[in-house]
Symmetry: C2
Subunit: 305 residues, 2 copies
């Protein structure tokens, strides 16, 4: 462990990710073949470079470092994860989906631009993510494995499945049918969990880590991902609008399923604590190499936004 | 050249693609982690398995064979191309985009299901395409190169850029501003051309073909792609509704840019002929190996739908 605090460590990684994202996104260029139209480039940059915790890319850099690679080797994969995450937010915010006007305290992509541009910006980011992995991850077998992990986590049996299941749960909730914490967990495992586990596995693959480490990191990612979601729900109940940058209480409107609703506030806090400790326990095979990730899991419990 | 006719050859390849697509798409499964929700799977299958010429995958199989690989080696990449093509149709048909009710003679995905499902089905198909390439193309360096080609052809500087430019051209056309054949060609090179060139390049990569063959096939794909688009526009003007399965004349409504509009019907036919001959000429480095692709380029001029 170095002398820097966890917060300093995260801030440095975040800055690296910000710079790499800015460099990876197309610049606005109006016409030529092989260029990105100005409006499309602007919408992509607006959504990706508009803030965010960069949790997925930072997890990827930290996992790669824990397994002995350099953060630089993991940077293209880290950026790809953030592009996939951002595309999913853009599409989820669309009027036909969650119909949100605000994201990170600013107008959502379809409000700042228009619906067609937002759909295409999302499509473009998802596609660009795979291009970044193919161009930036080496050697080739690691790149292929990262493409596979990223696609599986975000595809029709992963994140996209989770969003579909979430929409269907909302329909049922609006029709007055009640759910359970188990059903909610099944949705979150796919909707957010899969793409929070992927960075850990991709980091391990890039570092060519032994299988036992990769499995340990996958278990860590699974527990941390769910803890993160529960804390998110708690913040939504308790939070204040300025801190979280979206309308507080929205998710608890019209009967939407949340952890506090099924487990209560105290029950949710206890569950998040338990998951954070599961995450820490999962890191055992990495011994001291897992120090920063251990700190991060415990710090998630303290987060305010 | 074998004794089968081109039509027979295409029909056999098409059948192989149909079977592989049906096997690659998720089956409907309601609940578990790692499964695809039933409604999402149904929407994806409805759109992919609802007919279509399968031009992109067949081109990929033919290019691989021309360069000495087996069609089987190229099948995962071929399916990936069709998934990307289908996703683009689903999203282009959305109300916020071209707002089409019919596709291949059946209700479009958002009409048969709903808008949210259609957006997610498109997202799922695009993601699954990259998973198919990562899982199915071997060895790893060929898989990585195919991911790169596919992403670049379909991404924010390729197909997505073309759709954005097309929407902007429509806005300008509706505002009464006139365009030119050169501007239309610039749109098509990105909107459809890039994803018609990609199958040829991917086939060459899978066959580990010499660079000269890959370049020849890329030139062929470029010319054939544009010829195909021009014939499409001609069919739209001349075609009959039953044959093409969409409302004829729609594309020439409200001032939409088409080749017949800028070059006239005869001028468009001449341009398509010229491009088909360019395509044939490009195949020279492949010598007799290019026989089937040569036949296909000439046959495109005769197509009726």
């Amino acid at each position: 462990m170095t002398a820097s605090t966890l917060d300093e460590h995260l801030a440095v990684h975040r800055r690296r990710v910000e710079d790499a994202l800015a460099a990876a996104l197309p610049e606005a260029a109006a016409e030529g073949e092989g260029d990105c139209p100005e409006r499309l480039a602007a919408a992509m940059r607006y959504s990706v470079l508009g803030g965010g915790k960069r949790l997925r890319p930072v997890l990827c850099l930290m996992a790669a470092e824990a397994c002995g690679a350099t953060w630089r080797e993991a940077l293209p994969a880290a950026c790809a994860l953030e592009l996939v995450h951002t595309y999913s937010l853009i599409h989820d915010d669309l009027p036909a989906m969650d119909d949100d006007d605000l994201r990170r305290g600013r107008p959502t992509c379809h409000k700042a631009f228009d619906e067609a541009t937002a759909i295409l910006a999302g499509d473009g980011l998802l596609t660009l993510a795979f291009e970044l992995v193919a161009r930036g991850v080496e050697p080739a077998d690691s790149a292929v494995e990262c493409v596979r992990i990223l696609a599986q986590a975000s595809g029709p049996s992963g994140m996209v499945a989770g969003q579909m299941a979430d929409l269907q749960a909302e329909d049922r909730a609006e029709a007055g049918r009640d759910g359970s914490a188990a059903e909610l967990e099944a949705i979150h495992r796919r909707k957010t969990g899969a793409l929070l586990r992927a960075p850990l596995e991709m980091g391990a693959v890039i570092a060519r880590a032994p299988e036992a480490w990769r499995e340990a990191l996958a278990r860590y990612g699974r527990a941390v991902g769910l803890a993160f979601q529960i804390v998110d729900d708690l913040l939504d109940v308790e939070g204040d609008e300025a801190k979280v940058g979206k309308r507080v209480g929205k998710d608890s409107g019209h009967g939407k399923w949340t952890y506090p609703r099924f487990l209560g506030v105290e029950g949710s806090r206890a569950k998040a604590r338990q998951l954070a400790h599961e995450a820490v326990a999962a890191l055992a095979p990495l011994e001291t190499r897992g120090g920063r990730l251990r700190e991060l899991a415990l710090a998630l419990l303290e987060r305010e936004c």
